[in-house]
């Protein structure tokens, strides 16, 4: 039995904003299936009472003082933009409202 279906891969591609062709979906579905079967090995480890680690080291409380530092100029900020209008980033029409 496969660990992941082609439909699930299509869903992942949508969630990840990747416009994949049907051929690509087939290709990735097979590869992801093999990878997921392999990585599922982590679930065999008995670790119920083990706390998860999100970070490599147990550092806490790193802050910066509330001080203003120089910003980029608008020219610098917009220098890499694919399209600019009125000192703003011009983007294609947005379909949905903010989540």
């Amino acid at each position: 039995m496969s660990a992941i279906t082609r439909d699930e891969v299509a869903h992942l591609a949508r969630l990840s904003r990747l416009a994949l062709s049907d051929d690509e979906l087939d290709h990735y579905a097979a590869q992801l299936d093999a990878i997921i079967v392999a990585v599922a090995k982590v679930s065999e480890v008995a670790a119920e009472d083990v706390p998860p680690s999100s970070h490599a080291l147990p550092i806490t409380n790193v802050y910066r003082p509330d001080q203003v530092r120089p910003s980029l100029t608008p020219q610098q900020a917009l220098s890499g933009a694919p399209a600019v209008e009125d000192d703003r980033f011009r983007v294609p029409r947005i379909l949905g409202e903010e989540a």
């Binding site: 904003r17 416009a19 982590v42 998860p52 790193v62 029409r93």
Partner: protein
């Protein structure tokens, strides 16, 4: 001996004594780049003019009697995953082709402050994801030992540049082995500092909790000099350690290991490893004993699940880190015909701009973080991460350093594993535990495999902030091995 064959320390001394100018040194290396890079393809961008200008500036400062650091005027090749305000920065991806960052990474800034002359930007697996540099959008880098083989990855451009004498030093980043593995398969030294010991600010993120900048060099002392030059606390990186950099240069000079306790990780010994790798590893263990080290074998059982845990944690973080490449503010934009929505343009751009490995990892990470799967995958991988850190902790109660082969095999042929992600991932088997736990670890050359005559690497792992131990042991072994070989291992590499 020609300038390009000299070590960074030697060049630093010659420059300091005024016996050679930084411009001459830079020019010699730029000539070497021009000579070999058509074959090796270590560089994505060669900055000849700015390198010579930097070198001139160093010479002028020295002429005025300014006291400069030990690496001032020494050339360096810089992995193209660090932002540079005066050079393009691509991370090996089409999605960033032509992007010029408006700021320098902290590592870049510190290289400049140390007076290092940046020759150019080196090739890498796209977004540092890979073990062969074949995932670069701009074509693979080739191993200077055998141009049909990979130079390792993801920092393969940096390892190849140093191994091919195009630069005495280079920078890399290590997320699962991306410095140590390329160092091992090209016969040079590569160090992954303690996580947080070197700044990630301006390093284009692959997996935030694992990414660690580190040095490549042809010998241990050079690596330590570069390590010292760009490491240390950075207030721009919240995960940066606010503590002094361990005395790595002194440790590399001291190179004394009598009485040192060395642990051999049983889980990374022999099974599934190339015979030549195992043979060199065992010889090195014996050599350590002969040098007065006390060697014990010990078990780190969780290390066997490090690889699957890594291939959940790193893709999860990358799926989020790479979301910013969306065609809105910088980089590639595909399909914007005035009709398509932002959502469609994002998806088309990302499909066109990312290569297959990046897409695989983004989808894998998205999967591992999805509701319903989070606990079984990402959550469980984080628990394994805790267990690995505990294994290290227990081991370091018994020994001062742990050793293993750096990689299970020598450099593999280009193309061999491109379509087999799981086989490719195995290259990082031994290096991943140190990333998950944040430890320091180094790879040094320990000989050539009998069956293919290619370099084998030894990995030395030390506790968090025990970076100096890696250098101390590495330097001692280097001295002993080179006296056995009659010179550096790299001198056995065929001429390019």
């Amino acid at each position: 001996m020609s300038l390009i064959r000299k070590s960074a320390a030697e060049l630093g001394a010659l420059l300091g004594a005024g016996e050679v100018s930084a411009v001459e040194v830079a020019q010699a290396h730029l000539d070497r780049v021009a000579e070999i890079d058509g074959k090796v393809h270590a560089f994505l961008h060669v900055a000849a003019e700015s390198a010579l200008a930097q070198a001139r500036a160093i010479d002028e400062r020295r002429a005025k009697g300014e006291r400069l650091g030990p690496l001032a005027g020494v050339p360096i090749a810089h992995k193209d995953v660090f932002t540079t305000s005066d050079m393009p920065t691509t991370a090996g991806s089409k999605i960033l082709q032509g992007w010029r960052p408006p700021y320098d990474a902290t590592v870049t800034r510190r290289l400049r402050e140390a007076g290092l002359v940046i020759l150019g930007k080196t090739n890498l697996d796209e977004f540092a994801m890979g073990s062969s540099t074949e995932n670069s959008a701009f074509g693979p880098t080739r191993n200077p030992w055998d141009l049909t083989r990979v130079p390792g990855g993801s920092s393969g451009g940096s390892s190849a540049a140093v191994a091919a004498y195009a630069a005495p030093l280079s920078t890399g980043t290590d997320t699962g082995g991306s410095i140590r593995q390329p160092a091992a398969v090209t016969g040079i030294v590569g160090m992954k500092p303690t996580y947080g010991g070197s700044s990630r600010y301006g390093l284009i993120a692959f997996a935030s909790s694992l990414d660690t900048p580190g040095p490549f060099a042809r010998n241990v002392l050079d690596a330590a000099l570069l390590h010292e030059a760009f490491s240390g606390h950075d207030p721009m990186d919240s995960t940066s350690i606010d503590a002094p950099v361990p005395g790595v240069v002194e440790a590399a000079k001291r190179a004394d290991i009598a009485g040192l306790r060395v642990g051999v990780v049983r889980e990374f010994d022999s099974e599934g490893f190339q015979a030549g790798v195992v043979a060199r590893f065992h010889e090195t263990v014996e050599l350590l004993e002969s040098l007065g080290a006390k060697v014990v074998e010990l078990s780190c059982p969780s290390f066997t699940t490090a690889l699957p845990a890594y291939y959940l944690i790193a893709p999860s973080e990358c799926s989020s880190n790479l979301a910013r490449f969306d065609a809105m503010r910088y980089g590639l934009r595909v399909g914007d015909d005035g009709e398509r929505s932002a959502e469609e343009v994002m998806a088309m751009t990302r499909a066109a701009g990312f290569g297959p490995e990046v897409k695989r990892r983004i989808m894998l990470g998205t999967y591992a973080l999805s509701s319903g799967y989070y606990d079984a995958y990402y959550g469980q991988a984080q628990k394994v991460r805790t267990l690995i850190a505990r294994d290290f902790e227990a081991a370091f109660h018994q020994v001062d350093v742990l050793i293993s082969p750096t990689t299970p095999t020598t450099a593999f042929p280009i193309g061999e594993r491109v379509d087999d992600p799981m086989a490719m991932y195995l290259a990082d088997l031994c290096t991943i535990p140190a990333n998950l736990a944040g430890n320091a670890a180094i790879s040094i050359p320990c000989g050539l495999a009998d069956e293919d005559g290619l370099p084998v690497g030894l990995q030395i792992m030390a506790p968090v902030l025990g970076d100096d131990r890696c250098y101390r042991v590495g330097a001692a072994l280097e001295t002993a091995l080179e006296s056995r070989w009659g010179g550096p291992l790299l001198s056995k590499a065929p001429a390019l």
